[in-house]
Symmetry: C2
Subunit: 355 residues, 2 copies
Amino acid sequence: MIIEKIAESNFNDSVFDSKVFGKNFSDHMLIAHYKDGKWDEPKIMPYGPISVTPAAMSFHYGQTIFEGMKAYKNEDEEVFIFRPEKNFERFNKSAVRLNMPEVPAEIFLDGVKAIVDLDRQWVPKDYGTSLYLRPVMFATEEAVSARSSNEYIFCILLAFAPSYYEKPLSVKIADFYSRAAQGGVGSAKCGGNYAASFFPTSEAQKDGYDQVIWTDSIEHKFIEEAGTMNVMVRIGNKLLTAPTSERILNGVTRDSVLALAKDSGIDVEIRPISVEEMYEAYKSGELKEVFGCGTAVVVSTYNAIGFGDERAELAPLSDEESFATQLKKKLKDIQYGIAEDPYGWRVKIEETVNA
Amino acid sequence: MIIEKIAESNFNDSVFDSKVFGKNFSDHMLIAHYKDGKWDEPKIMPYGPISVTPAAMSFHYGQTIFEGMKAYKNEDEEVFIFRPEKNFERFNKSAVRLNMPEVPAEIFLDGVKAIVDLDRQWVPKDYGTSLYLRPVMFATEEAVSARSSNEYIFCILLAFAPSYYEKPLSVKIADFYSRAAQGGVGSAKCGGNYAASFFPTSEAQKDGYDQVIWTDSIEHKFIEEAGTMNVMVRIGNKLLTAPTSERILNGVTRDSVLALAKDSGIDVEIRPISVEEMYEAYKSGELKEVFGCGTAVVVSTYNAIGFGDERAELAPLSDEESFATQLKKKLKDIQYGIAEDPYGWRVKIEETVNA
């Protein structure tokens, strides 16, 4: 790995006062090029623009995948990342589905560790804040021809993540638009899935909702994801979530929350959840909580669900009553190095680059 | 429109000897920036790389749409483009669905005309060859946050198009993978649709086919598109094609071929076509032709169709018998200024920029 350090750091403490997610980038980025069937040596260099032809294939045919991860700092100034091997594994699954080359662990995992180490001063210490890590790969071959690219850039960017989505959100259940087709790319973390979701989300916002709960594209009868997150539904004291599939992202936060829920004695069921079941539970007063899980937001609670034209308000629960609040705290306490980590999820970033 | 001409043209006749589609770019490109809710003045400048942050949102969230058009030269050195208002209209429909800003006619249409005029020596004269025009828009805001971008680049690129896909192709009917969901973005010409298709296509290639005929994502019972083209099926002397929908691209070549077919006295039916109907027709000897229609290829004939594990070979037809061959010739004769254009499809590029 080539490391070209920035001449003078752009860091100053005021970065941590920002309320904007993903706009304040750290000093460095990692770049690796794929060409002629192989990856070159990754290079960590000062963050900044790159020279790209407007004929770069990702601008035309959308071959682009990414991951979202975070780095946390504890009271002792130790820096941790969370389950990076899960993101690494999913990234390469996305790569296969998008017909892109897989990225070796020496570039992805060692790269994440090296750049977080180098930019460790950019990792904030306040509970709820973190340094967001964005591994991304996009097609760069200079060609307007509808086929897979032969050249790619893999890149890791780091940006400050303030506390996210503090207020409960409202979500509309999709009854026309879809996020993913059967036999499509719903389980891949690829750009096209996000691009396709923005217009339906803006339509839901016109109806007074913040986000969309996506449903199956066939009959809109079963819920799949919420916004850019996996979705969990609490009916009575049962926590339900849809099984992952080729349409549903295999979320790292989803997996972690499910593990914590089971180990907290919560009754967890992984099975299809119909809109009708949710609506009936709402009517009977059994729909206690609906929340999203994802790296950026950790856990996002919903206070209103749009069933067609009906806006179902969910009564707020106390912190003691709420599964979402409890599970979010348990997860964050592990991530921030406050609680024990019986799962071995935390990975400490050793000081080597700066040593 | 700002025009900054290249100091010295890169043109030489050997470009026209290339057999590669979309790799030989002309002297100029058009670039317009969208920011703060408006488009700046478009600029035609020498083709070349641009400076882009790796945090440009299109690399992450895939907001990118494009069009494909062609410029043709006749024997009198006159240059024409074909039905540009159709591409303009579709481009902006794609923009709406991807939650991107619409591009005004003064940038898109006037831009296409100005740059083709300026680079008219790059338009080849040989029948079957052309200058491919690629209007494209992609998100450029510097942010890793899953939402619509507030900044975009609209760009027009021009690249030499040799005769494309001369040999008949084989196509496998999709029975697992899908191109488009109901309520999805199948009718938009957006990057994500193409990126999602490459892996299933490579799987079909492992089975000995060139491309995929996409079917509905629900039951894989009805055919939708072929490769990156609309698909037409001739059963007996009837020409069938699927109706456009939110899943199926409203192809300009499709529309033109249908008009030519109707005016040639061919019995045309626009309706869903089931895989079963095609297979039964194959068994009874009534499946005469299957072909794709698109700007890049014009018309691409198929000589074998994969129904599950069965490879159905289609007997070749003579030029006189084949609807595909006849319709392709009629369309190209209009495009190349050989035949009359009763439809008003041809648009002459006047010499103004160089005058």
